[in-house]
Symmetry: C2
Subunit: 254 residues, 2 copies
């Protein structure tokens, strides 16, 4: 992986948040706090950037599990304002209005988009910016819900790989139990990112960095990382299949 | 305004829809049908492009008014499949989970994003593409809900001005009562686009075309259209203020 001066990166992230808050002439920022490392990292950065009083965390569980405790741990450690809104009744209301069964992925998409709506309703009413918590590993592989968790005003971590976010989280003082737990989007019980993705973030980032940033040939990546070529081809296929998710809708040129 | 060969433009729009359906390996397209001219035009184009059996219209009222009849008129005229889902109970469920009052704009945003969620839930389950109905006049002035009505897979009309969509609608045979009625996003009773925008689409498009496409000087535009300079400056301000709405969320370069 690239070697980063993490102190400098953190300074850059903090000043980015400060600049956007000032430019947008808003009173603060709001973000969804899931209990995972990405949202915890953005919360720590935001509190450092503009002060805990101007940061509002929304804890929006569907399932009641340990993630909620971890989310509250982040909010209480930082001393930021927060609200807990269980989204089950809203997601159920969507389901009542559909005449077909939802599978886990579709229900997960509704959860993610429901959270986006709640974040923006609060942002509208408080004149806040919505901070996204997406990282580069998710963005490049399409491991997010289109117009859901990827929909925000600014996404401070969007150019940082997951393994780099872990390092930043440690430096910022995010609690270890959050850093060390298996990453999960929490869209269904027992879900983990790495099971979904079919690869560990550690290996995924090593491949993504060489494939996308360094533009290395697949064969050289496989040789350098001492892994089968099909692992690199698999990651390449994730990038290609999710291309449409990284673009605003287009129409024909007139 | 630019002079367009509308027969050619319609052919381009139809083949664009055909191409994207084929490329994406989907079984059809779905779109929200509001009773307005934009969604009616996209419905007519889609039915022409891939056949009425592969087009699903979702009529998603919040208010029960004439727009619903107009939406059903479009669906029945075309013979496409459609469903009517009243979104009030879903929007109410969002409101129940908020501890503050919504104003019209915020409630309108929730309506628009709720419709996006319903469209994508159906698209997921049927392996359909979501067609957006945004036009260039809305896109350039930011007259849409971010991650709401602007959120789709493809937006056939995105490069056509509203006044041009009217012309296309006439050629396609969209009913006159839909073409001739005052455009409205229907987000609250009595709302009209032109009241919100503070300018008629006719004048707005003439200014937008010169300002954005021809990159004319404001003073020359005012002189050419024989309008006060502040009208041009007003349109310019709409474009500037809405710039963030035409971009995916960014983060700092690392």
């Amino acid at each position: 992986m690239r070697s980063l001066d993490y102190a400098k990166v953190i300074t850059k992230l903090v000043s980015f948040i400060q600049e956007k808050v000032e430019e947008s002439n808003v009173k603060g920022v709001i973000l969804g706090i899931s209990g995972g490392v990405d949202s915890a990292t953005v919360a720590y950065l935001a509190a450092r950037a503009i002060g805990k009083e101007k940061v509002l965390g929304l804890v929006m569980p569907y399932h009641i599990n340990r993630d909620v405790e971890d989310a509250l741990l982040v909010c209480n450690n930082l001393g930021i304002n927060y609200k807990v809104i269980n989204i089950k009744s809203i997601v159920n209301e969507f389901e009542k209005n559909l005449d077909f069964e939802l599978n886990n992925v579709s229900r997960g998409n509704i959860m993610s988009r429901t959270r986006m709506i709640l974040l923006y309703a609060h942002a509208n009413s408080k004149n806040y910016l919505v901070l996204g918590t997406s990282n580069r590993s998710e963005f490049l592989t399409g491991y997010f819900t289109k117009w859901g968790d990827s929909a925000s005003d600014y996404a401070p971590l969007i150019n940082l790989y997951k393994t780099e976010v872990w390092n930043i989280a440690r430096i910022l003082g995010v609690p270890n139990e959050i850093i060390n737990k298996k990453p999960s989007a929490g869209l269904w019980e027992g879900q983990t990112d790495e099971k979904d993705l079919g690869i560990t973030y550690k290996l995924l980032d090593e491949i993504l960095y060489r494939l996308v940033d360094l533009k290395m040939k697949k064969e050289n990546i496989a040789r350098e990382l001492n892994i089968p070529l099909n692992k690199v081809e698999y990651v390449e296929s994730l990038i290609k299949k999710s291309e449409h998710k990284r673009k605003l809708p287009i129409g024909p040129e007139i």
